[in-house]
């Protein structure tokens, strides 16, 4: 009898680990594919691939908040904007080296996110969605405001120029910046994976699954919630700073509520509560508008909307969930 129980426990532990162990084979394949992209395609495609990477980082940030902590944000365009403007203002007005502004964009967003998360703590899911919705709608107007024009360039926005590739590296501009973005993405994904599998990550998920139970087990829910908000904003801020550097330009109208919708769509289609889903999400929101425009111009958001609703009906765990399902079916067949 005891032996039986022991075996069961061992089996359960093994299953638990299986879900959490890094699958090195797949990761190696992913990294190899990612590294070959800049050498196979032309400059414009590489630029688009860079944008996919940037969106993936932003979506991962949103996923940490929504997928792993159960808080909603419709306001991540605001944090993307803060990251982008931090980079642009530092480079354009204060002559900071471009590379330094990427982490700084993240840090500024962490602080902004943490501070915005503090009052938001008192708010349940929907109220938070509402407060962040208000933030997303208000931010473009704040950026355009004449009081900040000296800093933000008002409606015109700001230029910034990225430095050229170091001379000893035989790469062109697009390739070099793609590789930098890709490297940052891998680093951030690794960080997210570690966070999720740590004590803090388990606390985050416990709050998502049952806030009252989590609190009675001694988890400081308010602290974890606002920290998660900060970390989520940090990721999105880094994406924003990178995005500003890649596009070499920021303007208030690039960061409207539509960007929030876009990130949200990427999150849902990629798969909430999965780390790698963010990459699928990034690809989706960059590629689908191209296809949708071919069917009918101006209808890309309608296509997005229909796909969003369909995802809810047919694959609620998103693309990553679908892939996982197929993989486990394949394994059973063998």
């Amino acid at each position: 009898m005891t032996a039986n129980i022991d075996i069961n426990v061992e089996k359960a532990e093994k299953n638990l680990l299986d879900g959490r162990r890094l699958n090195l084979k797949w990761i190696a394949l992913f990294v190899a594919l990612g590294l070959t992209v800049p050498f196979l395609f032309d400059g414009y495609t590489v630029f688009q691939a860079t944008m996919v990477v940037i969106y993936a980082i932003a979506i991962l940030g949103l996923n940490l908040l929504t997928g792993f902590n159960g808080q909603f944000s419709l306001g991540h365009s605001a944090f993307y904007a803060i990251g982008a403007y931090t980079a642009a203002v530092l480079v354009n007005q204060l002559d900071f080296p471009v590379y330094v502004t990427i982490p700084l964009g993240g840090v500024v967003c962490f602080v902004a996110g943490f501070l915005f998360g503090l009052p938001a703590l008192r708010l349940e899911g929907l109220y938070l969605a509402l407060a962040t919705f208000a933030l997303a709608v208000a931010v473009p107007q704040i950026l355009k405001s004449s009081h900040l024009e000296g800093l933000t360039g008002g409606v015109q926005g700001l230029d910034l120029f990225r430095p050229s590739v170091p001379e000893f590296i035989p790469l062109n501009m697009d390739q070099w910046w793609y590789l930098i973005a890709f490297g940052i993405m891998l680093l951030l994904f690794w960080g997210a994976w570690n966070l999720i599998n740590s004590r803090s990550g388990r606390a985050m998920m416990a709050i998502r699954d049952n806030p009252i139970a989590a609190r009675s087990m001694g988890i400081n829910t308010s602290l974890y919630k606002s920290l998660t908000f900060g970390v989520s904003a940090f990721y999105t801020g880094i994406a924003g700073a990178l995005g500003a550097i890649i596009v070499e330009f920021v303007a208030p109208d690039s960061f409207t509520f539509q960007l929030s919708i876009l990130l949200f769509i990427g999150l849902v289609v990629g798969g909430t509560g999965t780390i790698w889903g963010a990459v699928f999400g990034g690809m989706f929101i960059l590629l689908v508008p191209n296809f949708a425009e071919q069917i009918s111009t101006g209808l890309s958001y309608a296509v997005f909307g229909v796909i969003l609703i369909l995802v809810i009906y047919v694959m609620p765990s998103g693309f990553a969930g679908l892939v996982n399902l197929l993989l486990s079916r394949l394994r059973k067949l063998r």
Binding site: T66, L74, P119, G125, L130, V137, A302, V303, G305
Partner: protein, 290 residues
């Protein structure tokens, strides 16, 4: 003093629109416990339908009431077709579908009627009342008041209105006494869509018709619902008028805000109220039981 009075009156007129949207938001919130983020886009779409009818020669008031009827049917259809199947799904699914609807309506309006700004006729005479406030604003105010009175009577004195309240307050018990709760939800959606349509048609002559016209106004609608208390329709209406007045006074008397930071006023209002009085000025507090 004239300026002050003028700002108060304009605030009341704009506030009546926010009150309409807040009421629509509260209506759906009471039925399904969610904020409808697509409320503004639904209202915008209804307004375009009305515009099309007027531009092919339908008289204004006929078009007005036809639009209300179409919006009501549309709202019911949305609940039946899209929300009924996911009634028990988690909050996230509902938010996703709201965002999906928002994107669909916004994009469809752009594709069907293109993005150029259109003028929308006002049914009220030109000119102004005592030189203080335009006749359209006065008309808008009274249309809203009449509509609110109708809705109040509907909930207070009709059988079906009472049934809707019962279904929202306690679905299980309502079901047991023979109320068809799921149809009451659909009715709630229909009413919300119709109220939104009135708000859209009344504000369109002021802000002009374009697919993105409702985003900022919806934000004020939400602010009104939050200020007044999301659980209280009367409070939401009061919140609408209050928010309209605050918006206008802040825009006029605080030089730092002017007309260019008005959306920030809504943001600050929402966050402040949620921080210090989460249930709004007239709301009931809700206790969670384990």
């Amino acid at each position: 003093m004239d300026l002050f009075l003028q700002q108060i009156l304009t605030g009341l007129a704009n506030g009546s629109i926010y009150a309409c949207l807040a009421l629509a938001v509260v209506m759906i919130y009471q039925a399904i416990d969610h904020f409808n983020f697509a409320q503004g886009e639904m209202a915008m779409f209804s307004t375009y339908i009305c515009w099309t009818m007027i531009s092919v020669g339908v008289p204004y008031w006929l078009a007005f009431f036809l639009t209300i009827a179409i919006s009501f049917a549309g709202g019911v259809a949305i609940e039946r077709l899209i929300f009924k199947p996911i009634h028990n799904a988690p909050v996230l699914s509902h938010i996703i579908v709201f965002i999906g609807l928002l994107a669909i309506f916004n994009s469809m309006a752009g594709a069907i009627w293109d993005h150029t700004i259109k003028t929308f006729p006002s049914p009220f005479p030109d000119g102004s009342f005592q030189g203080l406030i335009g006749m359209h604003e006065v008309g808008m105010f009274f249309v809203t008041l009449i509509m609110l009175a109708c809705i109040f009577c509907f909930f207070r004195y009709t059988r079906i209105g009472m049934a809707m309240q019962a279904a929202a307050a306690n679905p299980e018990s309502a079901e047991l006494v023979g109320i068809r709760v799921s149809w009451m939800l659909a009715l709630g959606w229909g009413l919300a869509a119709a109220i939104g349509a009135v708000a859209g048609m009344m504000i369109a002559p002021i802000v002009f018709l374009d697919p993105n016209m409702m985003l900022g106004i919806l934000l004020y609608g939400f602010a009104a619902a939050i200020v007044g208390g999301i659980s209280n329709p009367g409070g939401a209406v009061a919140g609408g008028f209050l928010v309209g007045i605050i918006e206008n006074l802040a825009g006029t008397y605080l030089p730092a805000i002017g007309s260019e930071l008005k959306l920030t006023v809504a943001l600050v209002l929402i966050v402040t109220v949620l921080l210090f009085k989460p249930n709004g000025l007239f709301g009931k507090s809700i206790v969670t039981r384990v």
